[in-house]
C-alpha cells in the first residue's frame, strides 16, 4: 500500500516534469521569451543607471526594490505568453484530451516558468551588481538566504502568473489584463521579498530574515494550491 502511494507520487512528479520539459525544449528552440526578458532586464538596468542621481541617493538602499520590480516586469513580459505556444494548432486541446489531471499541466508550466524566470533573475543580479556595486553576502548562509528569498519570491510570482496567463489567453482583453490582476496579488509577496533582500544585502543576521522567509513559504503554498485548483476554470470550456 505504502509502495503504491510512493509510485503514484513518483508518477505524478514524472508527469509534471514531462510537461515542464516539453515547455523548456520549445523555449530553448526559439529563445523567444528568454531573449525578450533578458534584453528587457539589461535595458532597464542601463536606464536605472542613468536615471538615478547617485550623488543624492545611495543606490544600494533602493537596489533590492529595483531588482524585484525589474523581475516582475520582465516576468509579465515573458510569462504572459505562456500559453501562446499552446494555441498553435490547438495543441492544448490535445493535452486536455489526455487523461492527465489539470493540476499536472498547471504545475508543469509553473516548473518551466520558474526555471526560465530564475535564469533571468540571475542575469538581473549580474547586471545590477555591475551598475550599482551591490554588496553580496560574505558567508555561505547569506548566499543561501539570498537564493531562498529569490526562489520563493519567484515561485510565488510564477504560480500567480501561470494561472493568470491562462485567464488572459481566453480573454478578449488578452495580455493587457495580466498587470491589472497580478499587481494587487503581488503586494504581500513584494513586501516580504524586498524586505528580506534589503536585509541580506545589508548583511543583517538570519533571524531578521527568517520571518520573511516563513511568510514567503506560506504564500508559495497558498498560491500553488489556489492555482492548481482554479486552473480548471481558466482553461476548460
Amino acid at each position: 500500500m505504502q509502495e503504491d502511494r510512493g509510485t503514484q507520487v513518483l508518477n505524478y512528479i514524472a508527469l509534471v516534469w514531462t510537461v515542464a520539459r516539453k515547455d523548456l525544449v520549445l523555449e530553448l528552440r526559439t529563445l523567444e521569451r528568454l531573449i525578450a526578458m533578458g534584453a528587457f532586464a539589461v535595458l532597464i538596468g542601463v536606464l536605472f543607471q542613468f536615471s538615478i542621481d547617485t550623488s543624492l541617493i545611495r543606490v544600494q538602499t533602493i537596489a533590492p526594490s529595483l531588482i524585484w520590480m525589474t523581475t516582475v516586469f520582465a516576468g509579465i513580459l515573458g510569462l504572459g505568453r505562456t500559453y501562446i505556444i499552446e494555441n498553435e494548432n490547438k495543441a492544448l486541446a490535445g493535452v486536455l484530451q489526455s487523461p492527465v489531471a489539470l493540476d499536472v499541466i498547471y504545475l508543469g508550466k509553473v516548473v518551466s516558468n520558474f526555471i526560465l524566470l530564475l535564469s533571468v533573475v540571475t542575469l538581473i543580479l549580474i547586471v545590477f551588481s555591475l551598475f550599482f556595486n551591490l554588496s553580496f553576502p560574505i558567508e555561505i548562509k547569506g548566499w543561501l538566504s539570498l537564493a531562498g528569498v529569490f526562489s520563493l519570491g519567484v515561485l510565488c510570482f510564477v504560480s500567480i502568473m501561470t494561472l493568470l496567463s491562462a485567464v488572459a489567453v481566453n480573454n478578449t482583453m488578452g495580455e493587457s489584463i495580466i498587470p491589472v490582476l497580478v499587481f494587487p496579488l503581488l503586494v504581500p509577496v513584494m513586501i516580504h521579498a524586498v524586505t528580506a533582500t534589503n536585509r541580506i544585502f545589508a548583511n543583517r543576521p538570519f533571524v531578521e530574515i527568517e520571518g520573511n522567509l516563513r511568510m514567503l513559504v506560506a504564500m508559495v503554498l497558498i498560491f500553488l494550491m489556489l492555482g492548481a485548483s482554479l486552473f480548471r476554470f481558466a482553461i476548460e470550456d
Partner: protein, 238 residues
C-alpha cells in the same frame, strides 16, 4: 446487446444558441458513423462532448453501457480525437510529439508503439523533422498517429480532410478504412460527401444542433444523397 458508444439526449447551449440540441444515437463496436451538416450545425461541439473535452448541459454519453463523466479524466484513454487542427507542437519533431503524448497517456512499451504507429501511417521518413516543416498531409497523418497511440476504442474525426490535396486525402481515407477492424468505433464529421459516404456504415445529417436524418449508408448513391441533403437544408431554411 450493449452499444459501444451511446449518446442520450445531448444538449449544449452557448448563451441562447443550442449548438447541440437533443442528439441521441448509438453505435456498435466496429461501426463508422459519418455526420454531415452545414457550417455552424454544432458538429464539432458534438464531437467535443463525445471526447469529454466539453461537458453537455443535458444528456449523457455512455461507453459500453457506462456513463462517461467528463470530469473523470481516465475515460479519455478510450477516446482519440483528430481535428483539422493537428494539436501538435510545430517545433517538436514527430517522434518528440508522439513521445510527449505517450507519456501523458502513461503508455507501456511506448517506444515500440510510437514506431509502430509511424510505420502504419507511413511517416517514419519524417520522424526526426520538426512537425511545422512538414506538408499538411504528413502533419495530419502524425495527428492520426497521436490519436491512435493509446489504442482508443472510439476514434472521433472532425473534418480531417481539410487542407489535404487529392493524394493525401485518398491516403487518409485508406488509413481510416484500415481502422475499420470490427473493434474500433469511428465517428467522422466531414463536408466531403464522397469519402464520407464511402467509409460510413451509418450516416447522419446535423442541422442547427439536431440530427434531421439518420440511417444506414447501404445503397446510398452520392448524387442522390447530395440532392437529398441540399433539399433538406433548403426546406429547413425556408
Amino acid at each position: 446487446m450493449t452499444s459501444r458508444l451511446e449518446a442520450k439526449g445531448l444538449v449544449r447551449r452557448f448563451s441562447r444558441l443550442r449548438a447541440v440540441d437533443g442528439i441521441t444515437f448509438d453505435l456498435q463496436a466496429g461501426e463508422l458513423l459519418t455526420i454531415f451538416g452545414p457550417n455552424g450545425a454544432g458538429k464539432t461541439t458534438l464531437l467535443n462532448i463525445l471526447a469529454g473535452v466539453m461537458c453537455p448541459d443535458e444528456g449523457q454519453v455512455l461507453l459500453d453501457g457506462n456513463v462517461v463523466v467528463g470530469s473523470e479524466r481516465q475515460w479519455r484513454k478510450e477516446f482519440g480525437l483528430v481535428t483539422h487542427q493537428t494539436m501538435l507542437y510545430d517545433r517538436l519533431t514527430a517522434v518528440e510529439n508522439l513521445s510527449f503524448y505517450s507519456k501523458l497517456f502513461n503508455l507501456e512499451d511506448s517506444e515500440r508503439r510510437i514506431w509502430d504507429a509511424m510505420e502504419d501511417l507511413e511517416v517514419k521518413e519524417v520522424a526526426n523533422q520538426p512537425v511545422g516543416s512538414l506538408s499538411r498531409g504528413f502533419q495530419q497523418r502524425i495527428a492520426l498517429a497521436r490519436a491512435l497511440l493509446h489504442d482508443p476504442k472510439i476514434l472521433l474525426l472532425d473534418e480531417p480532410y481539410i487542407g489535404l490535396d487529392l493524394y493525401a486525402s485518398r491516403l487518409l481515407r485508406d488509413l481510416i478504412n484500415q481502422l475499420k477492424d470490427g473493434e474500433r468505433t469511428v465517428v467522422l464529421v466531414t463536408h466531403n460527401f464522397g469519402q464520407g459516404l464511402e467509409l460510413a456504415d451509418r450516416i447522419a445529417i446535423q442541422v442547427s444542433g439536431q440530427f434531421i436524418f439518420t440511417g444506414s449508408s447501404d445503397g446510398v448513391e452520392l448524387t442522390e444523397f447530395e440532392e437529398f441533403y441540399c433539399r433538406k437544408i433548403e426546406e429547413l431554411r425556408s
